[in-house]
Symmetry: C2
Subunit: 184 residues, 2 copies
Amino acid sequence: MARYQVGIETKARIIEATRSLLAEGGLDATTLKAICDRAKVRSGSFYNLFGSKEDAIIHVVRESIRAVDPDPDRVGTDTVDDLVDAYSRFLQEEPEMARVYVIAALAGESTGDSARRQFLRHHMRRVERFGDAMQRSDPSLTPEAAHVEAELLLGALDGLAFRWALDQTFDFPKYALLARERFN
Amino acid sequence: MARYQVGIETKARIIEATRSLLAEGGLDATTLKAICDRAKVRSGSFYNLFGSKEDAIIHVVRESIRAVDPDPDRVGTDTVDDLVDAYSRFLQEEPEMARVYVIAALAGESTGDSARRQFLRHHMRRVERFGDAMQRSDPSLTPEAAHVEAELLLGALDGLAFRWALDQTFDFPKYALLARERFN
DNA sequence: ACCTAATTTGAGTATACACTCAAGTTTGAG
DNA sequence: CTCAAACTTGAGTGTATACTCAAATTAGGT
């Protein structure tokens, strides 16, 4: 796709423009025009590198989640607490991005649901991560039980994050730890 | 506002049109034109009765949540299980509405955040309901502890509902009950 | 029947949006 | 240096959007 150096740089500029717009003003602020203006690119160039605006947005959201992953290379040394901490950190450092994530995952009417499938895959990977960490800390746990516990804990974290998005005075880290104590 | 009988009926028609459009096709399908066509009304009439499209949508979402409330008049006889059941039922009966609820609550950039405040108030009322029910089943629970438990359980339910929205083969009622067992 | 206020109309405003494409320019491998 | 492919341009397309308002009509209390 982007094989020339200049194309790679353009793509990076577009991604950075999209990232900063999402972080500053959420989805509403992230129009094609705004992205192109900030990236110093005309719209035709954008579409030479991305199939749609949503492609760029999803790329950025996934990238920023990966950025706070305690074990991005899956070495397998992360604990449940590490994962919960990473979740708290993501909310703290990228509050707007968390909202974008949820809306992009749910609003998939327009996109068909390819976006939704992508978010589901991402969720399943996280469940696996949590389940693995739970088994490492308690080897007597069966894989099936670990999976259920992981879905419950991740569900609780997601719901508490939604709660926090409604009202940022909500003490997410505190409740996240309480939830973590209930599951294992 | 709507003092003539005909105005009251028009308002009801608009609400019903909005409700059915949201249930059938979510937010994307619920344009002003679609609402007006279905309600057999011209746009001017709509704006005589509602301040904005979003007013009508929020009205409908709140109404449909209330419709599955096990104790809408707050008699105070509902148990935690009743409340969890009502939550499951809402997802089952109004799947599209649940997504609309979340998006409307989070997408408040455009609205300022008056919508967000409204959803927060609604959330707080539900926390209170859950907390009250928990105290009724276990009178040794302090109000403060009940509040914390209620936030945790409701958070877990919200997160599991998000999980279910990603993939409707997810067995929400099963996980909801598991979560319910962990908190009390 | 009168009269005010409620309601309705519907053409009109503004305008924002994602996306396209044919024609040019630049890149870099051979 | 050549040249095909990668990249860029930017005016243009098409469409949908929520919302307004002045004028006409209707409701219903008196």
